[in-house]
Structures are given as C-alpha cells and as structure tokens.
Symmetry: C2
Subunit: 302 residues, 2 copies
C-alpha cells in the first residue's frame, strides 16, 4: 500500500514505523510544514521520501493525517479535494467534533475515517517516535456511518497492524470523555508545574526536594504547547466543564483542610482510592484483554 | 546495633531491610499498633521479634519511628521518656514543625534527630517494603543544633546505609517546601481521581479510555488516607497556601480557555515546560550526583 503521512511527529512517525514493520506500507511518503521535522524523519528512515504539497496525495492508497488539530481542521478539506477516487484518508486528531464538522458536506466524506488513536508520551517530534506506541491501546472511530465500507476496512487494517482495540462513538461523546480522562490531566499537570516554578522563584533549592511522586504527577507538563493549545481550544466547552468540576473539588478539599476536618479529608481520599479500579483497568487493557474480548465488552455495554 | 522500629509499613519496613543488609542492625525489634501489619512484618522477616509496648525501647541503641504523623507527635514524648541514656531516636515523618514542637522542652531532646527521608510509593503496609527505596534520594534533618553530636553521627550512619543525601533545614522551611513539591501533588492527584470517578457515575465506559498519561497523573490518588490525612492536617497552613496558588493558576487558565485566548494558553504551557529542568534534576539526583557533591552544593547555596 502506498502511504502518505502528513505530520511527522511522535504520532505520525510511530505509525510509519509500525505500518512498514507489519508490511502494510510498501512505500511511505511524508509531508511536514516543519522542515527540521521533515528532514529528521527522512534521515531516521521513518519515510522514504518527502513531498512539498498535498497535491501529490492523488496517487496514495492511504493518507494519514497527524498534525495539530487546528491545522487538521483546516487542511483536511483540501486533502480530500486532492485525493484520487480510491484513496482513503485517516486522521489521528485528539478532538473529533471540529474535525468532523470541517468535512461534513464534503463530496468525498465517505473516503475519510475520523479516528483518535489514544496514545502518546510527553515527548514530541520525529525523534520521539517508536515502534509499539499504540500496542494494546484504544482507537475511537467517530461517525462510522459516514465512512464507506472500504474506508473502514482500510482503517481496520491499520489499527490491527498497530495492535489497537477499536471502539465507536459520536464526536460529541468522544470529546466529552477525553476532556475528563486525557485533556483535564494535561491541564492539571501543566498548572502544577507552573505553581511549583512560581514558588521556586522565591524559594531556592525547592526543586531538589522533588521526588518520584511529584515527577509522575507533573510529567505531562512537558507536553508540546503547539499540539495542546489547539486541542484545548477545540474542546473548550467540555474541558471547561471538567476543569470547573475539578476546581470545585479542590475548593471543597481546601475548605475541609482549613476547618481541620480531617475526617472529611480522609473520606475524600478513601473515595479517590477507588481510582485503583480504573488504573488496574488500564493495565489489564494494555496487557491482557484481547481485541475480541474488548469489542464484545463494548457491544454489551452499549 | 540493636534497632527498634515503631511502625512497620512501607517506610519502616524498607528501612529495616536495608539496615540489616548493610550490617547496621544486628537485631531488629518491631512495634505496630496494627496487628496484621506487625505479624506480616515478622513473617516477611523484616524484624526478628515483635514488642507490645514502647517501654521495651530502654535497651535499644536506635529507635526509628515511622508511624503516621499525628501518632508520631503523640507517641514521641513517651518514647523519649522510656529510652535509655544512650538510645538515639530518629523519626521519618513528612511534617516537621508539629513533631519538633511536641518535644521542644523534653529533657532528652538531644537524643532525638528530626528527619524526613523523602521517598515513598503509592503503596503502603509491610508488603510494600523493599530494599533500595531510599537510594539516591534526600533526607532533610531539622533543628540539627538541638541534637547531640552522637545522635547526628548515628543518623549519618543510617542515611549512609540507605544511600541518601542529607540536607539541613528549619522545620517551618521544611514544611513550606514539601507543601509545594510533595503534599500539593498528592492533593491534585486525589482530586483528579475523584473528579473522574464522579463523572464516571453518569458516563459509562469512560474508564476504558484512560491512557498512560492519565495513569501517571493520578497515580498518587492510590496513596493511603491514614497516612496522608494527618500530614495534611499538620501542614494545613502551607498546604492551603500552595493549594490556593494552584487554584488561582487553574482559574486563570480557565478564563483564557473560555475567552479562546489560545496564545495565552500556549504561553502558560511553554512556561510550564520549564519543569523539565526540575524533572531532569530529579533524574540526576537519583542517578549521578554523589552524596559529597550534593552536600557541597547545598553548602554553597545556603
């Protein structure tokens, strides 16, 4: 399959590596507006060739778009304009409503699959790409009914090669859920980082006291602002709602703290301990549950 | 050296393992109010024998107290009452002001070293104890001037055996700093956990979308409420200040989010990215910097 990847960062680069490894991609062309990223991706062998414009996608069997979501919503209609009759386009954006809206009336909408493979690290760029990033994780496909059967078959091939479980949702449902389990935790990390950096200006040496617990909690604060600012903007409403709920929880905690109501603090933490159930689920999902089992679970639950 | 450990959880248990391994402890007695913890610690060989009351500490060369901080402040004076003339007492509490105040006028204050070895995991109890928990990490000793030379020498032996760097601070300074780099990140994790659990009640399947980023950010929400509620209570003022600053940062972020001021969101995240510097410091501290180098750094900085 002739594959073109638009956006050669952590996500695009890691997809390229595994599509080649599994024999899905027989040739890989790359496009990236950032010249350094493009040449690094070529140098590392993530792609075989670089292209300058999206006009060349006419000949591709599959185009994968892994650019920041504001660029995605803007470029996607032009990419659909340019593709051939048999080309399938797949995106990897972390928001889905704005992206689906951008092509809702496009005559080639059927050739597009709106997807969000939920995976990543706090690192970015082609040098951060690696094989296995997606293994055992979940992809959400939105507006399944608007994609053709052959487009969905191609998407299945890709996500099987990446060893991902696939589930289906509508864009609004997707955006709401990821606001809580992904976007919110990025915001909490970024601002924990900023709070500690702020106090550090006045209090020397505070950094050297930070341990592994702090490191874990603040890890996502290293994430790329270029990638996350547009995600937050596109998912403003749901993220804002999640953030508001988080702030209310914090304020309630602080109220009990200041009243020295240790019993109530204890009760809150005991409740929060139940997150073990979800975290164990993440481990199970990443290690044990097969694609088939996971599919049937979702079907039962829906 | 005859060692008695009061509190046989993650911290007390891990200290026991390494003091025996390094030949510091020739005999290890244990005391724990929780009968299950006590018998597990004996079964796992963390200690050689169990004792019922603190009266038996008279014969010990060294007593290490690793109980929750409210119990610590309460029991410590009685332990000092009971010890022999040559017994040294060391604590491992995560707060220092309340603990130092509890014994400020005790006639045996000189035999006590107020210490906080900064290490831990989200797990608790004797089954969570392991060798190497403290390796490469930092211990803060407070009110050094109130401990005798021989007490400080014994403390040095212990922290060398645990392969820790030792720095010195006054209790208030300690409590302020750990409020930001340790206690705050526990609060942010607990309440992120609670927020997601809350929304999960209405939105089925949200848990299965959580990825490794969420898992990292929320990891500390698994921590023990029995241990953390008293820490938060004792460090109420500084933690409340840190929490207030965090909430203000979150509210400011939300304001820019709702105004769709993506440029300002980008600026905030770029600032937060500087946390890499602190996180790299944690890695360096845990892997490379020798005790001697670290000591001289602190001396230069003070």
């Amino acid at each position: 399959m002739k594959v073109t990847i638009i956006g050669l960062g952590l996500i695009g680069g890691s997809i390229a590596i595994d599509l080649r490894k599994k024999g899905i991609a027989t040739s890989l062309a790359g496009i990236d507006a950032n010249g350094t990223h493009a040449s690094t991706a070529l140098k590392f062998g993530l792609v075989d060739s670089l292209e300058e414009s999206t006009e060349s996608v006419k000949e591709a069997d599959l185009v994968i778009m892994a650019v920041p979501v504001h660029a995605l919503a803007k470029i996607l209609p032009h990419v659909l304009d340019a593709i051939g009759d048999k080309t399938i386009v797949l995106d990897a954006g972390s928001t889905k409503s704005a992206i689906c809206k951008a092509v809702v009336n496009h005559p080639k909408r059927k050739q597009f699959v709106a997807a969000h493979p939920i995976a990543g690290t706090e690192n970015s760029g082609p040098e951060a790409a690696f094989s296995g990033l997606f293994k055992g994780k979940t992809t959400i496909i939105c507006e399944k009914q608007k994609s053709s059967v052959s487009a969905l078959e191609t998407a299945s091939l890709v996500f099987e090669a990446l060893e991902m479980n696939v589930i289906y949702m509508e864009p609004e449902e997707h955006d709401k859920h990821v606001a809580y389990v992904s976007h919110l935790s990025h915001v909490t990390s970024f601002l924990l980082g900023q709070t500690v950096l702020d106090i550090e200006k006045d209090e020397k040496n505070i950094a050297m006291l930070a341990g592994s617990g702090f490191a874990s909690t603040v890890r996502l604060a290293k994430s790329s602002p270029d990638m996350w600012a547009p995600i937050f903007e596109q998912n403003m409403e749901y993220l804002s709602q999640a953030l508001q709920e988080y702030i209310i929880h914090l304020q309630r905690f602080q109220y009990h703290l200041m009243k020295r109501d240790t019993q109530e603090l204890h009760r809150t933490m005991t409740e929060a301990n139940q997150i073990r159930r979800i975290l164990n689920g993440i481990e199970v999902k990443n290690n044990v549950v097969s694609q088939a089992e996971n599919k049937s679970k979702v079907e039962l639950a829906n």
